[in-house]
């Protein structure tokens, strides 16, 4: 199937793209356009052009990964477009086809999959206190570090039910509920997405020479987590 056609099967794409008059209102308000070489208006123009070559270039580029999905563009567009939703469709397709590994920002999907994706399936949460390792999150500061090192006591102090049974913040999600989430991922194509991210990332990791630790590609993950070629913005 042609890429444009493929995109057109995505509800977000149908919702997100009507027609664009290149007024630039989206770019004017976009937090990403301010700090990245990113122009949401051009995203709309390129996909609207149905130019397969340019769409393929987009899918393989850093550009589609700059958006923060804040959806400020939706509030303002005088034609009712939402570039944020178009981006979501582009990112889905980029991962579907393995194109995401062609760009520095796209490759980061593996790290997100490993943390957020696996948390959702196996813990029932997107983020957990255990993830806030000070070395990976220096901005959490001394207080963050103190919380991390005294997780049980701090969460107990403020009334959370950390890893406990029953209700409350940070409670342990019952296994039968996690089983349901697992089946949802199986049936709805959630695992297909996660597996594709793993599959294409492995190929890329190999081709980039990250052959150490093939079981989990931790070197590759640490590389994609910290690398910034400095070419994403005007400095």
């Amino acid at each position: 199937m042609e890429l444009y056609e493929e995109l057109s099967t995505d509800i977000r794409f149908i919702e997100g793209l009507n027609s664009c008059m290149n007024c630039g209102i989206c770019t004017a308000i976009c937090p990403a356009a301010e700090f990245y070489d990113y122009d949401p208006r051009l995203i709309a123009t390129i996909v609207h052009s149905k130019d397969e070559k340019r769409i393929e270039e987009l899918l393989k580029s850093d550009v589609i990964w700059y958006c923060g999905e804040c959806m400020s563009c939706k509030t303002r567009c005088p034609r009712g477009n939402t570039v944020g939703l178009i981006i979501m469709a582009l990112r889905s397709l980029s991962q579907e086809l393995g194109y995401f590994t062609e760009s520095e920002k796209g490759r980061q999907q593996l790290a997100i999959k490993r943390v957020i994706g696996e948390n959702i399936v196996y813990k029932g949460y997107c983020v957990l206190p255990e993830n806030l390792v000070p070395e990976m999150h220096p901005e959490q500061g001394p207080v963050g570090e103190w919380i991390f090192q005294n997780k049980k006591e701090v969460y107990k102090r403020v009334g959370a039910n950390y890893n406990g049974d029953g209700t409350g913040a940070l409670r342990k999600i019952p296994q039968e509920s996690l089983d349901e989430i697992y089946r949802i991922f199986e049936i709805t194509g959630g695992f297909d997405r996660l597996d594709k991210i793993e599959h294409f990332s492995k190929i890329k990791a190999e081709s980039m020479g990250f052959t150490e630790g093939r079981d989990d590609y931790s070197d590759y993950i640490s590389h994609i987590f910290t690398t910034n070629n400095g070419k994403h913005n005007r400095q």
Binding site: Y36, P138, N233
Partner: protein, 114 residues
């Protein structure tokens, strides 16, 4: 300072309040026809240099009007001064003269630390 693994990014936004209009004003005074640019792109479409290198004559007006002196300097170097742009301009702007004037004056207004 602690290494956070990232830095604060400079804004890409054109901050009009920081605009240095000295070069622009000088050019407009010497070649007032340049004020009437419509941004139609006729000049770029016919440009001899644009056939060979990435060069956009139309953007010259914008670079001047946004005070992008450094970029402007590197852009005008690409012009071959053939004057075709002037022939197609619907507003009859003497673009060749504009470029000559920029070449002459740009050094005066270039930011010192560039």
């Amino acid at each position: 300072m602690k290494d956070f693994g990232y830095t604060i990014i400079k804004q890409r936004t054109i901050d009009y309040d920081q605009f240095d209009g000295r070069l622009l004003n000088e050019i407009l005074e010497m070649e007032p026809s340049f004020k009437t640019c419509l941004s139609c792109g006729g000049c770029t479409a016919t440009c001899s240099a644009a056939d060979l290198v990435s060069f956009n004559v139309r953007r010259m007006n914008l670079l001047l009007r946004r005070g992008e002196t450094i970029e402007l300097e590197s852009e005008i170097k690409k012009c071959m001064l053939c004057g075709k742009c002037q022939l197609v301009c619907p507003r009859g702007i003497n673009l060749r003269n504009v470029i000559m004037l920029i070449k002459k004056s740009i050094l005066k207004y270039k930011p010192v630390n560039s």
